[in-house]
Symmetry: D2
Subunit: 338 residues, 4 copies
């Protein structure tokens, strides 16, 4: 951390600041110049609050040098995290998985039919919303506990591990047969939920918030990991921009950025990112090309009857075609490109 | 709601769409043109899902005409809502209140001292964070339950009603002596929390999300109100933009927009909006000038020792000066300007 | 400027960097720590390119400390700039002016009628677009040279100085009778135009770009001023955000920020910021309350027949009412509030 | 175009609106409902101004149905545009080209050396900035006319067509030996420049603005094409978002969106989009995977001595490696994937 002092700051004010800093276990190095002086703080500055430093009258500005995250930081854990969702179904460290299924669980028939379809096409995990975050209280809110039971039926029928979203830590007991617990974009900074998920062991699929930076996203992962749960899968799902041709803007640059900064696996959700069926395949392929560890794709057996997000769902046939291309691309990238 | 049909859509496809729409209690009016046909849906279209309509092959686009909110809509409830926080302390409908206090409750001494100071200057409610949403798990997370107890002490000592943030519905029992429950920006779309708050009676201070539109904000208020709680105070606290000179960009246009669209009172938080002490006063004054129903301002007796956000806190002396100007401005606006 | 070196950067790499820096007239102060070393560069670092520094393998990060603008910087020119637009019509340094008129000049009758109307209400300068930047090539592009002539007629008829937008330096000869040359938001970083305007003497009204920071805006003013023209009036006209209830989001925080950072006057355009007639007055009043040096407001004698932006234009009657309030507010702020 | 009328709008007001609309050559279809009436306008509504319609008191809202662009619209010109930059060097319609070279032209030696290097690696066009748009007037502004001469030398030496940015229509005579004229992001809505470029015949490389939508971008292309020049290459170069790990956020979704909406070729600039050398290759590969018609990549023989943007430039060796992968990916996509 670097503290830039104001030009001609009185010595007494700088001493007050240095006195304050003594409470932390840090080395302080002062550089005095004609027009500018700086204090370099060396050591673990995680506990030093920038806002407090800025209240000292002698302080012009403060810059944090080190990343504020530790547990999820690749610098300190260079080996990639491999999350084993179920026996033999791993993600990260060279393991690539496709999660597929409907936006919402609707009926037993629907979820089992879709599960069988996507399994046949090569998906290895089943997604399906039981608790649905909707902007409007008048929109379908999901089958809730009942939806979780239907997911379990589909799991029994197909053997596929299930991935579904949680909206409150109070619901955790209902998730005992869920394999991967999803935290949605709107809950990325629901810190109480993150802490609760850090205290249990199931893998977490942590979606990026709609207007959050990669650093904020990693800090949310840090909340989970610092409570004891290292099984975190990041999911890029598009950020809010001024563009209206797609629902959000998929930030594929986030993949190489995350590969550099963290050991956690990262997957891509082209369905929610675009909100438009015909753009799902090209972005899924690009995500595979750029080195994502997996994909999560919406598939519905009857999109016109879907209770939510039908416009972005692939039919099982479309998904089957897309999966063929994803597999070809993944194979090309891992065996021929590099 | 208006459905725009594709040019030359086959009659059979349009019939399929019309059949689907029969399930809703709506009048359908078709306008057929040479290059474009449209269906006008007349009636309550709240239950019609745009995404589903978009999956029909004959549909080019769908436009919602009516606002998707009802309970909070001024069209249906033209009288302004007046929230009575405590006997005689009303907000909305011409009643203006200033809430003040520290970012975080830290010690009994601190919170009582600040409470007495801000009361003397004219604040009528005390704010103070007990549960603190922080980007980093390593930052001070608030005194939590203990902080609520200290707020209650300050309430006893000064008689001021207290306003403090909730982060999980599970904590509701701890809030029984709190007067106004705040929902922070990051929880504006924590729908499970909103529903729980709608089922109880305490007034809610609902902050706008960091990257949310006014319509999304009103939909979150609708979540609370549709569950039965009409005591909602909206709080504009700045939105995320590319500007870096202030922490967020205070959207003062939101005040006249909300005055037109909703009957709910709206207050302004210039402290979190700017993040910079010297900008708090000018924006507080501008908020009073434009017709906000109140303000929420951070005040700390010793900003350099504040455990969070010291850089934006006013000292009691600064707050006293600012309050004098706010009162003058409020008085000018209500008695002379209009 | 502070250069943060990589942990364990080899001495030879750091020497290469220091050798490179020798070319600049700077003092270099090194602070060596266990896990981090920094170089503080003291002196005028305007010519040092951050991108180049980042190419040195030993460099982790570079932070600029000083503002990159000089001529427009209040630190070096603490006295407020007063722009004298015409004899006795000054803006800045306590002088407040309202510019009003139609979006576009349409006919001689229209522009003269509006000019007379707004003059009667207290506006001291006439605005009117002759060259119109329009998103679509099929929208009305303005009367161009002919529009400038009509503005001159209105100036003759009323004695009001005229303010109008330039879209290309090639048009400068046509602007010889214009009093204030406006640079629109889309041309804020048209650097060739800025340079040309810096080489002539007429005052410039420099609008903020749609997605630009205050610092970028000041750098554009620096382009003009560093070429020799100090007569610059900044104009906040709203920035692009996700909000759709208003066309842009007026950033009123920019006023106190600019008052701190620059000596240039700053005015507010509530018409383009909101795009909605009924929000123009409340934001105009708030701008006067927060200390803007003036306003620019669209007024049209027949908004339904306006060739552009009729929806945000006030009628002369509305403008007259709004002006009464603006004057009251300005009077209150300067004589009673402070 | 659909006009939504206000509930209970008086018949006389609606007649006034209909009278106004008679001036346009349109069919008007009215749909009258209990709570809502709409007017559907059928025909070419390009000339109808939405803002003017909104000034009619009976109008609640107006929605444009058809895209506002015609010449660049794929609906009316389904065949892909192929731009022939030089004999045998085509872009679009299945032709893929890589443009490479330094950010700025610096010396004859530099530009010729880089040109030879990138040609050897397979680039078919040379880029190099002569006129440089820089945020600061104190940054290197390019060699200007002299830089164009050096580019011509490199063209003579290598036979590569040259691509370089124009900043003012006044400079057009200097560009007579340039093969592709680039319009930078900051000039995307410099409409006078676009018109001038539409009146000449050289191909235009039109970069997307920093905060512009795809529709606005296509409208800028429409400016050029409607003046007579159909040789336009679009270039996605990242948009401004809140993310700071990359300079901008590359919007790869724009590629499939544009492939659907326009017949114009579109290339990708991963260098300016990321601003970080190590992210250039993965995004270049993803762009090739998603179907871009080409790439523009910054290469410098000595990035540490680059006068601008060194941090994002590849060395010739890095570029050579990246080109091998781009070619493999392009080959895989065109021969095996689809």
């Amino acid at each position: 951390m670097v503290i830039i002092l104001k030009e001609n700051a009185p010595a007494v004010e700088v001493q007050a600041l240095e006195q304050y800093l003594e409470a932390f276990d840090l080395q302080i190095k002062e550089t005095v110049g004609e027009h500018m002086s700086i204090l370099g703080l060396i050591g673990d500055t995680t506990a030093v609050d920038i806002d407090t430093l800025l209240t000292f009258p002698c302080v012009e500005d403060v810059r944090r040098i080190q990343e504020p995250y530790k547990a999820v930081n690749k610098k300190f854990h260079p080996e990639p995290t491999v999350v084993e969702v179920a026996p033999g179904i791993k993600i990260g460290g060279g393991n690539f998985q496709v999660i597929a299924g409907p936006c919402s669980v609707e009926t037993e028939e629907q979820i089992i039919e879709v599960a069988e379809d996507v399994k046949k096409s090569g998906a290895t995990m089943l997604r399906g919303g039981a608790f649905k975050p909707r902007t409007s209280p008048y929109s379908f809110q999901g089958l809730r506990a009942n939806g979780l039971e239907l997911l379990e039926e589909a799991k029994k029928a197909t053997g596929m591990p299930i991935v579904t979203e949680i909206m409150s830590a109070a619901h955790l007991p209902l998730f005992k047969n869920v394999d991967v617990i999803q935290v949605g974009a709107r809950n990325m900074q629901n810190f109480e939920l993150l802490k609760a998920l850090g205290k249990q062991e199931k893998p977490i699929l942590l979606k990026r918030g709609l207007a959050n930076t990669i650093e904020e996203w990693l800090m949310s992962a840090e909340y989970i990991m610092s409570e004891g749960n290292p099984n975190i899968i990041l999911c890029e799902r598009g950020i809010r921009t001024f563009e209206t041709a797609t629902r959000n803007t998929l930030d594929l640059s986030a993949i190489p950025v995350l590969k550099e900064k963290t050991h956690l696996p990262v997957i891509v959700d082209p369905s929610h990112a675009t909100g438009v069926r015909q753009y799902v395949e090209p972005l899924a392929i690009a995500a595979a090309a750029i080195g994502a560890d997996g994909l999560i794709i919406e598939v519905h057996n009857d999109p016109q009857k879907a209770l939510c997000d039908g416009a972005q769902s692939l039919t099982p046939e479309q998904f089957d075609n897309t999966m063929k291309k994803i597999k070809k691309m993944r194979n090309f990238v891992t065996t021929e490109l590099n």
